[in-house]
Amino acid sequence: MSLNGLWGKLLDVDLSTGKATTYNVPPEVYRRFIGGRGLAAWILWRELGSRWQEVDPLGPDNLLLLLTGPLTGYYPGIKMVVSGKSPQSNGVVGSTLSSEVAVQLKAAGYDGIIIRGRADSPVYLYVRDDSVELRDASKLWGLRGTELLARLREELKQDGREGAKPSPPALYIGPAGENMVRTAAVMSNYAHAAGYGGYGAVMGSKKLKAVVVQGSGPLPEVADPEGFAKLRRDLVAKLSKRHGLRYWGTASGLYYHGYETSSEPVRNWQEEWHDEKEFSVRVLEAGVWRKRFWADWGCPLACMKVSVVEKGGRAYVTDAPDYEMGAYLGANLGVFNVKEAALLSAVADDLGLCGIQTGNVAGFAVELCEKGVLSKEDVGYELRWGDADAMKRLLEDIAYRRGIGDVLAEGTYRAALRIAKMKGLEPSEVLRYAVQVKGIGVGAHGIRSKRDYPQPIAYAASVQGGDHTSVAGLPADSTESESWAALLDSLVVCMFLEADEDTMLGYLNTVTGWDVTREEVYREVGPRILTLQRLLLLLGGPDVYWDPRIHDDNPPRFYEPLPSGPYRGAKADREEVEKMKREYYKALGWDEHGIPTEETLRSLGLEDAVSAVKAVRRRLGLEP
């Protein structure tokens, strides 16, 4: 089998030895797992599967994967997948971000990079076509995103290698990643973040400050150039008409999701409705936007907006902020001044924090103060809803693991367990305020009103926990299912540039020369990726293990009635959730607990995972 649209090889860098080699991926593996997230699941299973439970996500044995997909460079826009064993879920998360590194990697002749081991001292990886260097990053360690990009630009300029671009094509971490904060993101271009999964902490654990990639070669050939050219032309024309996203970006959701759909986190999800008219994209547009259209490579939407917020004599740069950042660092913290929310977004970006996960744990902390579980003495200062200065201080404390920030840096789930222990409480007494699923804070789209896109099992049954970009849903053979999300993350394309099934698969097949059908997506490809992710999630460890009978559930808060707004009284229905979960698991070939069956493993060509499933069942007491 030959390959089109892909190189069939990854760069394999061992930071412990300083050696770089080539990791070949057989064409049939791509056909079965596609690329990106699917390939991540395959590599992690192959490399770490037999000892998964012993692998510390923040130890040298973990792998950091930076992967593209078959549509990288061909489909409009640019995304890549960051993965590894997640320090949040202890499973596998395909965490996506926009970065020019993706197309540079392909132009350098690689489909991705595997990072192994741990460097003795801070380094950054510089890849320029065939040349691979590990360079000293001692002087870059400690720098925030903005400073880092400026220094990298200067350093590469002096080298005569780079400098024309305001931001070198780099993936990097801020102080949060260096300090192995579990809510740290892998960043790119000031404001792009792969936040879900906590891979900024994995990168920090390896003492890897940045990865800079420049490729000058052509991309791999496509199988059907004429068909591809037509599809691309039609698609770009269609996508350019997505005026809502194009003009307003996702920030348009700020007032909309709060007021119209009652699905925006407000004060740690105590509410999901608000009528704060000033908390809107119009105020951002008038007040902080400096550039309306900011696009990554080849994107016809340009949904990002460059914002500049001035505070204390300093100018902070961020995108819009987007809906998730605005919601989590605004409404969820009781901050309804969008300029303040934009500032917090910029601070989080600069520190290399995931705005969703950190906004989630910060809101959790404020509610614990409100409920008297945490005191002013525990925190060191007053934490009150809407106090943006205190929130900014809290973000920094988390990033630098100072005081209570060290506890919160463990992410909402682990912080809840630690705080319960500190206070002599039962875990459930603190976990009731933790709006997370399997270690991953829930994205800013609630389920109670049923007016937003996530279904009642969206997070409870997802292999990526609270990740709003990978939700479970019914029918299982439709774009509502997590199989479709797994496909998008494997192709790898931006979800805002998603088109209908025929277009997406047409694109895949014209680029690769394959003949993937929608039936194959929902019966084989999607379930195969999800099954492997599910298995690794259930294996878990070494510090946290999940019991699907307990943890395949919504956060307790979602079973509390909405206290305000047009959907007041609405809440998740446990019976409905259980019924939907059973149907969803059955459709994927999993048993009533969501454990893949032996028959399913064999039908998906995952026979080598049978013993691992038996191990999971034994741990759960389901077989002797």
């Binding site: 008409k241 997505r242 005026h243 809502g244 996203l245 996702t250 959701g253 119209e260 987007d322 809906y323 998730e324 994205g443 789209h445 049923k450 007016r451 937003d452 896109y453 996530p454 279904q455 709003h468 970009t469 939700v471 849903g473 019914l474 029918p475 439709s478 774009t479 509502e480 979800m495 805002f496 540039l497 998603e498 088109a499 209908d500 099934e501 025929d502 277009t503 929608r518």
Partner: protein, 81 residues
């Protein structure tokens, strides 16, 4: 002649406008116009830029005349934000 067209909505759209809606059409408006009408009647909002329609397992452009097929499936795409 009147044509009966049935549209099945998937996922969260089903909660908002009902799982399946069948309409007797006078004339043959574009599918997009039907979706807007159903949304309006249910007090819901459907962003036509981010839904996909299918008939017989094939994607259908929303600008197509709705009477060209009798059954459609409509789902949201580009979800998230």
């Amino acid at each position: 002649m009147n044509t009966k067209v049935c549209i099945r909505f998937l996922g969260a759209l089903a909660y908002q406008v009902g799982g399946e809606r069948c309409l007797e059409l006078e004339g043959c408006p574009p599918l997009s116009a039907l979706l807007e009408r159903i949304a309006r009647e249910n007090g819901a909002h459907i962003d036509l830029d981010t839904v996909a329609a299918y008939s017989g397992g094939r994607a259908v452009d929303l600008s197509e005349p709705s009477c060209r097929h009798t059954e459609y499936v409509v789902a949201r795409i580009a979800r998230g934000g």
